[in-house]
Symmetry: C2
Subunit: 350 residues, 2 copies
């Protein structure tokens, strides 16, 4: 049984949980906004369902609950933020805000994060830029959880990447993807149900495609989306978010879930493009709206009655969530209830 | 039977063919360098095998043989080039050179092209930046040749995107991909051989996945790589290369092959990131080399004896081509011979 919780109540609960775990109210608010916004999109894998794990990792020392991210290098069009292993939402929000600010003066800006932590859903930061009339791009490396062509085992992260584009009368275009063929969460869910999978999702202990989930993730590894193409894009993210920032790369990145006592050394990168400095903003947004309309009005496939543009499903869910509350899936609700019991705070259904 | 042709001879032939078709020697040299470099990588779909088609489209008016691309707007960190429908290699080389120049001052720069034409292999331009110690990103929209989820027929281009990354002792990392599940050329080749295909490549007239090539490309359409993920990335390219530049978008882009009398209205976008302005260049390239080594040394899959990093195969082929000549596939060699006969110029095998 799923429960609807209002956005305000879920935010209140999250802030209370995070301050209970030792964060300042202001930092807790920043983190809660990322997680609850992600839940409103229906992306529950990256929302408040992860609160308990973040708090556990803070307790184990892998995330520094009181650290303050700091700008350690900058120019007119770039900056590097040292996250000091604080919650990733703090360093990432700071970084994207800085990119937006620099793009206001400079049209385009890149800001990277080193000593980062898991930043939640990349789409949150890309959307920050779109809400300021800029194209936003956000990416992070990840602890190795994906194989590469010719290899076996975990070699590179399924490095998430996201963009958002400002529009006229439409919601921002938004895409937020990991570079594995499918999300790990989906495979875990199918494993629990004892299902087999298509051969494009996982490799076995030998590094060969398999339809059996088997002992994954202990042995075997996720396949990149689109084979060498997804692998290639993952390497670009590793370069821009890991190498260029001075963060950990590949095996130097640790899992914030499985190694909660270790600092993850994640890296992130954020790009903002101030489109209104290049062409009149209205002309740009009118043309984006035209693209959206043309995509939506394409002839439909047999059995299809609707075409979605990137982000459209998420914004529709958010509208519903803001009006009617968020319908949390059972496992998320249960994890929040357990967390509330531990911390002595209560989650009120709407 | 394939024929080995030296790089110098293939370049000489290409320049002669292009000047014969009315281009200036200097412009012809620029175009020839893009096409022959692409052949050295073994990417024959985008090399001199396309010379005859470019020349035919110039003859039909879709490409303006003597037009000079022009910078029509710029700031410290950006520019827009009007390609005036000249050969795409001219406007794109100008644009990437401008991006590199602006990134030298400004760390990061974006340059777009409107009224563009087909630019050949995106990887050529990304590599220009890597050779100047910058991360280069190059992308183009394309005439609609790909379906999107829920639709049938051609809705969006399989918009190519490429990056290149400078390294220390290694060749640049380089990826150059189109966003369809597979290249159209591969499907054409299998069609000729009467083969069937995996269901992730094409949709039929109803927009449903099919294993039969059938009447494609008249009916049916290529599927995006990785489903909604490839679709989403194609939309980003459409925004950065089409919308932001003022080029054609979606159905506003015409095929330079099938509609040779029409100007294609393609758009391109180029980004250069001057990594040495952010971190010491040597530190950056040392770290990239470390990533390359770690990828290469990952445990091998059963039956695999080698792992390649992005671009490695292309650079190996290029080394061989520079030493021993380019081994042109039969259809490429035959098309060059026919073109030579038309223009009264000869191609000498090495």
């Amino acid at each position: 049984m799923s429960k609807r919780i209002s956005v305000a109540e879920l935010t209140r609960f999250s802030v209370d949980a995070l301050t209970g775990a030792g964060m300042t109210p202001s930092d807790a608010q920043t983190v809660a906004d990322v997680l609850v916004t992600t839940d409103t999109w229906g992306t529950f894998s990256h929302g408040t369902g992860a609160l308990a794990t973040y708090i556990r990792t803070m307790g184990s020392g892998g995330i520094a609950r009181c650290a303050k991210p700091e700008v350690v290098g900058e120019g007119t069009a770039w900056a590097i933020v040292d996250g000091h292993c604080a919650m990733g939402m703090l360093s990432s929000s700071l970084a994207m805000n800085l990119a937006i600010q620099k793009a206001q003066e400079n049209t385009i800006a890149w800001v990277g994060v080193r000593n980062g932590s898991h930043f939640g859903a990349a789409g949150y930061y890309a959307t920050m830029a779109a809400q300021r009339d800029m194209v936003g791009i956000a990416m992070s490396n990840a602890d190795p959880n994906m194989v590469i062509p010719g290899a076996r085992g975990h070699v590179i992260g399924n490095n998430p990447i996201s963009y958002a584009v400002p529009t006229g009368s439409e919601h921002p275009l938004m895409l937020d993807i990991a570079l594995s063929a499918v999300a790990a969460g989906k495979i875990f869910a199918m494993k629990e149900q004892g299902q087999s999978i298509p051969p494009s999702w996982l490799t076995d202990a030998d590094g060969l495609p398999t339809c059996e989930i088997g002992e994954w993730p202990q042995t075997g590894s996720m396949l990149p989306m689109a084979g060498h193409k997804g692998y290639g894009i993952a390497v670009l993210v590793e370069v821009l978010a890991g190498v260029l920032t001075g963060a950990g790369v590949l095996s130097g990145v640790k899992s914030w879930v499985l190694q909660p006592e270790e600092r993850s050394q994640l890296g992130q990168a954020f790009i903002a493009i101030n489109v209104g400095a290049i062409v009149p903003l209205r002309e740009f947004t009118r043309r984006v709206d035209h693209v959206i309309q043309e995509l939506r009005q394409a002839p439909k496939a047999k059995g299809s009655d609707r075409i979605y543009v990137p982000g459209e499903m998420e914004w529709a869910k958010r509208e519903d969530a803001l009006k009617n509350g968020i319908e949390l899936p059972d496992p998320v609700y249960a994890s929040l209830e357990r967390l509330g019991q531990q911390l002595g705070i209560e989650l009120q259904a709407a």
